[in-house]
Symmetry: C2
Subunit: 498 residues, 2 copies
């Protein structure tokens, strides 16, 4: 069986090593000074024995399991792992086998004064799955709840358990010619329930971009009982229950299963890459497309540096794609390209889209390679109004200078883009975390000052918490919900200021 | 100035009277027995003096104002008005002139042990604006908060106060070639804030159907302070605050203003009416269109009886329309018509769409005419899965027999339709309310038993309350929110079981 990396992103066998790592160092040294050292992956000493009695549900207390559940996959997580810095591991990793096990874990946790951190795929890049308090805690790994329970071909919906990973879910939809079409960058390493708890962003660049829009009915196990909404296509009866669980980051309960809307696999596809002589012209073109009602499935604008690094095209590049299971989409693509022409865009003869896709999936592995080379890498994403984007972009670049900053739009809306920034800075051995924290703080401060959200689809977790500022009445309301559903405060404490 | 009807729907001068009422009686008598009597509109006696001291904000205590704020516009409201049955009027009708007045009213209400019922246009058809408790209450009429505060042509958004009516909002958008394109049947008589508080359904038959989808950021005044969300195109930071206010029906606070997404006025339009030989064939065609991704702006399926009554076409009729401000939509219409052909549909040469539109806007006035003729009329709407629609439809017709039941789809989704039922029954003078309550109970019971929602866009109000069944954990959470935001329980008490 293929093994997951305990210290870095994804599959162990996909880590960038040997000649690939040398090549990466070669390329990067054009931009940033490197010290020629490669941090080795440490061999872990055994962790101290669990400080809690064994839970009454299948669980592991060995070092391997606990180490792999100590941190998420942010830069600061990888650095700490490479430093063998596992100061706060979970005492146990618990694997509920069915929904009732979740309730048993809650009861056990209350009786043992333990905190419970729900764990989907563990791909959080915002500190969502580590506990920073003092009490002993356990990691509730939901990967055994990985069933597809129903496929409804009439109403185009799937009912699946929260712990199922992206590929397993799609694999079971495929024989029915159906697809959820929700592909976060973490697709292979994140779960259906995790997407819901963190409001993940998916495949579609426009329209129904978030898992929020695909969810039909969530079933959540809280310490105060199970909640499940009616399964209807739309509703107008009171505030929508599912919207309280979407983005709740494990603080109210554990998403045991959900119904989500699927669709027929697209059979018509048209795409093009368009390059622009200037970045602001390309932004103007994308704004016009986003406001046109054409609704491209893909509408990813790479700024000149991001385009250069990923596709070797030294100018702003728009990757556009349309798809349908019902009708041809060439006319829609044609109109979108026409809009681009109006802003000086030219259809490229290169396959930027294919190159981009390859680079996109490899990016987190390359990030881990860079970490080992001593580079500080940060990625963060946001959403803002069109009118504020240019100033925001300039302010981010300025605030993070002299770090190298690249930007792409992952999703676009009629009222604004969702820009995703990648930051590369020369690190100092031993000072990487400090520098990362500093970059994060500087970037987050700029987002807040410019009215942009602290996260479009990476969740708040613990790393974004200082810049998550709900209104006082809304925060008071959420705290009241927390107190009602989790009166012993066992679930992911501290998240969302709850 | 044109006058609003105090006892019935809409404008006083649009009431069906004289020869029009005679004609209506003539037509209806083909289907239902009439007793030949026409209930007169009563002249109201003066109401007793207000039982509360005058509030410190502009307010009226006269009979005219209070009578017009005693009931909504449901059948049971019109009957009670025609019977001069105004047992529970508000003591005062209060007209806040700015946001601070709302807070002053809250403080006054707490000090005076008064309940506060927020009132937008008063077009509720579910008992949303009447108080059924014993305490004295006031009606908080928001119609003076009717300003458009900002029009943002770059990001396509409008900021308006909660008390603005539909036509005033559109009139101020029009010079900018913009439109909110949210046209509930009550458009002329309902407000922006009311739409948000009740999750109103709008113009679009597919895609962004509810005001929920158009709202960018809500500002709400609660007894525990003002809450306002960040104004961003999309967000992933915690549960979405706006979703807690959407559908809150005045129980958490008063929506003082909001930003909503607007769009350029459509310049390309294509439409067609299609008739089908069988109802089930027409439903199958609409299901295929709803799942095609074509996203028609209009996709209203009239069942044979509804088509007959409104357009004199004696077969299931689909009114289809596409629109865009950017590109031609004939191809999309063509593909939708092709889908209809596949199910035996034929493009009609009659203008069913135009006839339908006329009938649609006149319907509530005709309803009031029918009330005066002694007919019991009920309308209710829901949403269900495609797989359950036929059974639901049959069960509704059976449960309400021998009443005449018609059905149309107001909105359709990939996973199911939103059917809207109209019910006509022969009434007995003096027994109308009992029969209406009985029809409502029978219909609601069927909805619940078939997994359909108690309301797709009419809100829960007080009339739907027995069939609004949130899960116990979610209800407990909502009650905790209520207790936090409105600790003295002054706001619209009883709504949503809060």
């Amino acid at each position: 069986m293929r093994k997951r990396s305990w210290w870095g992103w994804g599959w162990d066998d996909q880590a960038v090593v040997g000649k690939d790592l040398d090549d990466l160092a070669q390329r990067v040294s054009q931009y940033l000074p490197l010290d020629g050292h490669v941090t080795p992956v440490p061999v872990l000493d055994g962790l101290p024995k669990p400080a809690l009695p064994q839970p009454p549900v299948e669980s592991r207390g060995d070092t391997e399991a606990r180490a792999a559940h100590t941190h998420g996959k942010a830069f600061r997580d990888v650095v700490r792992n490479l430093n063998a810095d596992l100061k706060r591991p979970p005492e146990w990793v618990i694997y509920p086998q069915h929904e009732e096990d979740i309730t048993r874990v809650f009861e056990w946790a209350i009786a043992n004064n333990a905190k419970v951190i729900p764990f989907g795929g563990g791909s959080s890049v915002t500190g969502g799955i580590e506990y920073r308090g003092d009490e002993p805690f356990v990691s509730l790994d939901l990967s055994a709840l990985d069933g597809v329970l129903d496929i409804d071909e009439v109403n185009l919906a799937v009912r699946a358990q929260g712990g199922i990973f992206g590929p397993a879910l799609e694999a079971q939809l495929k024989p029915h010619e159906l697809t959820l079409r929700h592909y976060p960058q973490s697709f292979e390493f994140s779960t259906f329930g995790g997407w819901i708890a963190t409001r993940a962003g998916g495949h579609y660049a426009t329209g129904y971009t978030h898992i929020d829009d695909l969810v039909q009915s969530v079933r959540i196990v809280t310490p105060s009982g199970v909640s499940e909404a009616q399964r209807v296509p739309a509703n107008g009866a009171g505030p929508e229950p599912d919207r309280m669980w979407l983005g709740s980051e494990g603080s109210f309960g554990v998403i045991s299963e959900a119904w989500a809307r699927v669709q027929r696999r697209p059979t018509f596809k048209s795409s093009a890459s368009i390059t622009f002589s200037g970045y602001s012209e390309s932004v103007a073109a994308v704004k016009e497309i986003a406001q046109s009602g054409l609704n491209p499935a893909n509408c990813r604008l790479l700024d000149p540096i991001e385009a250069m690094l990923n596709t070797a095209t030294p100018s702003a590049t728009l990757i556009l794609g349309f798809e349908s299971a019902d009708h041809p989409v060439d006319t829609a693509l044609g109109r979108a390209v026409e809009i681009c022409h109006g802003h000086g865009g030219e259809v490229s003869t290169k396959d930027e889209a294919g190159q981009w896709r390859g680079a996109f999936l490899k990016a987190p592995y390359l990030r881990d390679g860079l970490v080992r080379l001593g580079v500080v890498v940060e990625t963060f994403e946001t959403a803002c109004l069109w009118s504020g984007f240019q100033q925001l972009h300039e302010a981010i670049v300025e605030a993070l200078s002299p770090a190298l900053v690249t930007c792409r739009f992952t999703h676009v809306y009629p009222d604004g883009p969702a820009p995703y920034f990648t930051v590369y800075a020369a690190g100092q051995r031993g000072g990487e975390l400090e520098l990362w924290d500093d970059l994060k703080a500087r970037a987050s401060h700029v987002l807040l000052a410019h009215g942009a959200t602290i996260t479009h689809h990476h969740a708040v977790g613990r790393d974004h918490l200082p810049w998550y500022r709900p209104s006082p009445p809304f925060l008071a309301a959420m705290r009241a919900v927390k107190q009602t559903l989790d009166p012993h405060n066992i679930l992911n404490p501290g998240v969302l200021h709850l």
